[in-house]
């Protein structure tokens, strides 16, 4: 019975997310030419970078069984995950600002889980350019088999959750540290940057960092390993890591919300 209720709630939540995604997409497509141009621009941008790195790693291949398609997989998985994250949960980027300006109130007075609701309320349509690029690059350059495609779909969804959780964590810091907008930008950029380089070049403390505070390791490296040599344990590990990050994000948000409800936030008085 509890299982049935769980399924029902999940189904309704998915429908909820779906309704918002559809509405946001329709709103973006209102300006058809601008939307198309944004998507094309992002796709072109990603392709330009990949073109450079593809040639770079052909000339300077890394050791330890590095294949040229590896860089494509790194880029495809991180770009797709990022694109999905921003295309569906795009408003997470604005969480800090909503907290500071009291915009969170509107979501709190409605009967849905606030963090989820805030996240899906708005999106950045350029993200679909990243998804388009990622799917194109993966299919055209990696020539994957059917199982790999299925695995890819699962992986990018997990990665999207990690990205979203990361953004939500950063945004929730605003509950405690006040106006952190300017700081968040370089950190977000850093995560994306770290995700698009092979793990081989990082050593020691940095590697540890990339599996903890800045989960670039889970975003691109682990999926790369999985796509090359599938392993149940590794997949479970990735799912576990995703769960941890999502849990942390929800936890920090809940803590911050208590603070918000006391009205004693820095720089905010009713």
């Amino acid at each position: 019975m509890a299982m049935w209720r769980c399924l029902r709630v999940s189904w309704r939540t998915l429908r909820f997310i779906g309704a918002y995604t559809r509405a946001n997409l329709l709103a973006a497509m209102e300006y058809r030419s601008a939307f198309a141009m944004q998507v094309v621009t992002m796709t072109a941008n990603d392709s330009l970078w990949l073109f450079f790195w593809w040639n770079f790693f052909r000339q300077f291949p890394l050791t330890n069984g590095w294949q040229i398609t590896d860089i494509v997989i790194l880029w495809a998985v991180s770009a797709c995950g990022f694109g999905i994250s921003v295309g569906i949960f795009g408003n997470t980027e604005n969480l800090a600002r909503l907290i500071m300006t009291g915009g969170l109130d509107a979501y709190l007075s409605m009967p849905r889980y606030a963090l989820l609701h805030v996240s899906i309320a708005a999106t950045d349509p350029t993200a679909w350019g990243d998804v388009l690029f990622a799917v194109g690059a993966f299919l055209l350059l990696v020539h994957p088999g059917l199982e790999q495609v299925a695995l890819f779909v699962l992986l990018v969804m997990l990665v999207a959750l990690i990205f979203t959780a990361f953004h939500a964590l950063l945004g929730s810091l605003a509950f405690f540290l006040g106006n952190t907008e300017g700081l968040l930008q370089p950190i977000r950029g850093a995560l994306i940057s770290f995700s698009t380089y092979p793990m081989n070049i990082f050593h020691g403390v940095v590697r540890l960092l990339l599996f903890t505070l800045m989960p670039a390791g889970f975003i691109s490296f682990v999926p790369l390993l999985l796509l090359r040599h599938y392993s149940w344990w590794l997949l479970l590990g990735l799912i576990g890591a995703t769960g941890v990050f999502v849990g942390l994000a929800m936890g920090l948000f809940a803590l911050g919300l208590r603070r918000y409800e006391s009205g004693n936030l820095i720089g905010m008085q009713a």
């Binding site: 509405a23 915009g103 007075s109 409605m110 009967p111 708005a122 009205g263 004693n264 008085q269 009713a270």
Partner: protein, 358 residues
Amino acid sequence: MKAIEVADLAKMFRTRERAGGVIGGLRSFVAPQYRERAAVKHIHFSLEMGEVLAFIGPNGAGKSTTIKMLTGILYPSGGEARVLGLVPWQQRRKLSYHIASVFGQKSQLWYHLPPQDTFDLLAHIYELDWCAYQQRRAFLIDVFDIADYMRTPARKLSLGERMRCELAAALLHRPQVIFLDEPTIGLDVIAKQRIRELIGHLNAEEGVTVFLTSHDAGDVEQVCRRAIVINHGEIILDAPVAQLKRDYLRTKTVELLMQEMASSLVQTDQQTGRQQLSVQLALDTQEQQKESGVKVVKAQGHELVLEVDTARYPLEPLIASVMQRYHILDMTITDPAMEQIIAAIYSEQRPVDACASA
């Protein structure tokens, strides 16, 4: 069951004192000093189902804080409150299915979406039955007359159009209590009128309990039947609007721009030095002149400003008699400002206090 019950509700804000400079910053980091501000101080009131309450006061009086506590967004420092039998800050989610809030200054309508889409999303949010929702939506579109804007993105609508859409959206899930925070702020006179009519209509037809905050006296006069005045976090008056009107809203300020010089309408009494409207002198008897309900505030150039006690001296005959003899180029009639009302209430503090704390 009462719609809203508030007992001894209080809210204290604690802020960290911010010192300037590097040393001050360090000091406040290591040993922070806190400053406490009482936003709401032990207020009591209750609301029956179907009432329309005006919660008025100047800026910073504690109105928004009170609404936030009643909707569960803020938890209080002390006291109790129940909305529809539920404790807002403990059962916020459950309560949110039965209430709605519309903030005049912070638009809830998703800016990039047309009202059509926002309504559909709200149906999802409140888990409404789709058929019932569609009927309800059609009904509200009709009542609020927003059919023309349903597909226009919210950012392209005027403030008045957006407010109507917001109100309609807020009523989709048939809330029993609706909180309106400054719903007519920034609207032009006609739009204000429309919103007020709609609120009144809804209360009459559907029995929605309305909790309205405003610092526009016009909202109070026309829409609400009961008024609570709050200042510095305390309730200083809790009375039917009729009483408020009778005691504090009856003075109207009339500004006239005359073709003639204003001094020609005014005569200065030799004994008291007071200026009086000569038109008046023609109408009144000697005794009435002494206790005149008309005060000349300013008579400069072509401008004449009068303060009229409408209980004692109705406006129409006064203006009619002025028009008969003189040429009025422009006329503005305004209600007293909230600050004046508050001041008037304070000046009669003793008897009013006894009423409010009962």
